[in-house]
Amino acid sequence: MYGSIAAIGAGLAVLGAGLGIGRIGGSAMDAIARQPEASGKITTTMIIAAALIEGVALFGVVVGLLGGAK
């Protein structure tokens, strides 16, 4: 059962990260639509923020892998 629980955990982590990155992407699009001239800076900031969230999600995935590979 370890693997299944780990898979649920990984899924939850992915869910959270998906929501977070989705929000970042949406907000960045809004911002770019409002200020197209600042799109370069917004994109960079967006990627950094997404990477930070993704990092947290990947912790979850790694923990899932750990449980699964046992």
């Binding site: 780990a6 990627i47 950094i48 990477a51 990947l58």
Partner: protein
């Protein structure tokens, strides 16, 4: 082993969704069942051989040299393991049979279990709950698959960048041509968008060579990992040791270039009441290490996950024992592979970018 079931159940659900499973699913049960988990793990982990084709044991492989430090230097070919004896022993905890390879010839005193080399005690290996107990592990400095891939990656990087450097040496400061034309925008991207943007235009120059090296090292090895045949195929940047080393490099560079302002922000964060400092200082100190830790995990997990997904999609064919499933799995694997090309660039960019961000925070002067 349980992950296997999980993955199997995922694929089973895919089958039901596709609702054509009965048409393609075969009833044949092989004597040795195809183990997708084992196959994937075998591919993403390090090995002492470079498996080219054929079955896992007995197929065509390049046997890489093994270098052990065990009361002196010992070198021999890994064929002494892979062509050695397949032994079985009883796991003390789970009471199930486990297999390991016992070396022959110069490797007679050693055993290979899950690609790790152990010294035998009176010709035996004792395994408990999947882990080896009681057997010592000699220091293994073998040229493993990943080390070999590291050599390939470094050589390719040197050859390509060397030709670019030669172009500029020969022609001076002219408009680039050929390879230089292709790579110069990337070099300028690293210099301007990564270094200058995050470190600041006063101090970025010192860190550009380091950031370029780390960027191209990751980028080239990521791409090399996407090639399924010989020079590529190893999961080098999806190996925790490599990413850990790179993260430590960034940590060392960050700490080495840190100034007073950086430490002031850690031990006496401006704007934080003194009463809160006992809580803040440990958090800030942990923060120094979590940042490179996240770098390490990010690169490792991204690349490993990419390899796992591609392999799992290809495995659909072998799980169902039918080539017809290739019509589903090959386009999906192709799609993921193309996505992985983007990820290869993105992860290299992110690693360099976040490194620059950390260095930038360490060299930033107080401006308030």
């Amino acid at each position: 082993m349980i992950l296997k079931n999980t993955i199997k159940s995922i694929f089973l659900s895919i089958l039901t969704i596709c609702s054509i499973n009965s048409a393609f699913a075969t009833e044949h049960k092989e004597k040795k069942e195809f183990n997708v988990n084992e196959m994937i793990m075998h591919h993403i982990k390090d090995a002492h051989e470079w498996h080219l084709w054929g079955p896992e044991h007995g197929g065509t492989s390049i046997f890489l040299p093994i270098i052990l430090i065990d009361g002196g230097l010992q070198t021999f070919s890994s064929s002494n393991f892979y062509h050695g004896e397949m032994k079985t022993t009883i796991d003390h905890a789970t009471k199930s049979e486990v297999e390991y390879l016992q070396g022959v010839g110069p490797a007679a005193n050693y055993a290979l279990y899950h690609e790790k080399i152990y010294k035998l005690n009176d010709g035996a290996l004792s395994i408990e709950d999947g882990h080896v107990h009681g057997n010592t592990k000699p220091l293994d400095l073998s040229i493993t698959k990943n080390v070999m891939s590291l050599f390939f990656g470094a050589t390719i990087l040197l050859l390509i960048m060397g030709s670019v450097a030669r172009f500029y040496k020969k022609n001076g400061a002219v408009a680039p041509k050929g390879l230089a034309k292709f790579l110069e925008p990337i070099i300028i991207l690293v210099r301007d968008d990564i270094a200058k943007e995050n470190i600041g235009h006063l101090k970025y120059k010192k860190y550009v060579p380091y950031l370029l090296t780390i960027f191209f090292f990751i980028f080239f090895n990521n791409l090399l990992g996407m090639i399924p045949i010989l020079p590529g195929g190893a999961n080098l940047t999806g190996n925790l040791t490599i990413t850990m080393f790179l993260a430590i490099c960034t940590l060392v560079v960050t700490l080495a270039s840190s100034n007073k302002n950086y430490w002031k922000h850690i031990f006496a964060t401006p704007g934080v009441p003194v009463a809160l400092l006992p809580i803040m200082i440990p958090i800030e100190i942990v923060g120094i290490f979590t940042k490179p830790f996240a770098l390490m995990i990010r690169l490792f997990a991204n690349m490993t996950a990419g390899h796992i997904i591609v392999l799992a999609l290809i495995s659909i064919i072998f799980i169902n024992q039918s080539i017809a499933w290739g019509a589903l799995s090959v386009p999906m694997a192709l799609f993921i592979s193309v996505l992985e090309l983007l990820v290869a660039f993105l992860q290299a960019f992110l690693f360099a970018m976040l490194s620059a961000l950390f260095i930038g925070a360490a060299v930033e002067e107080a401006h308030h």
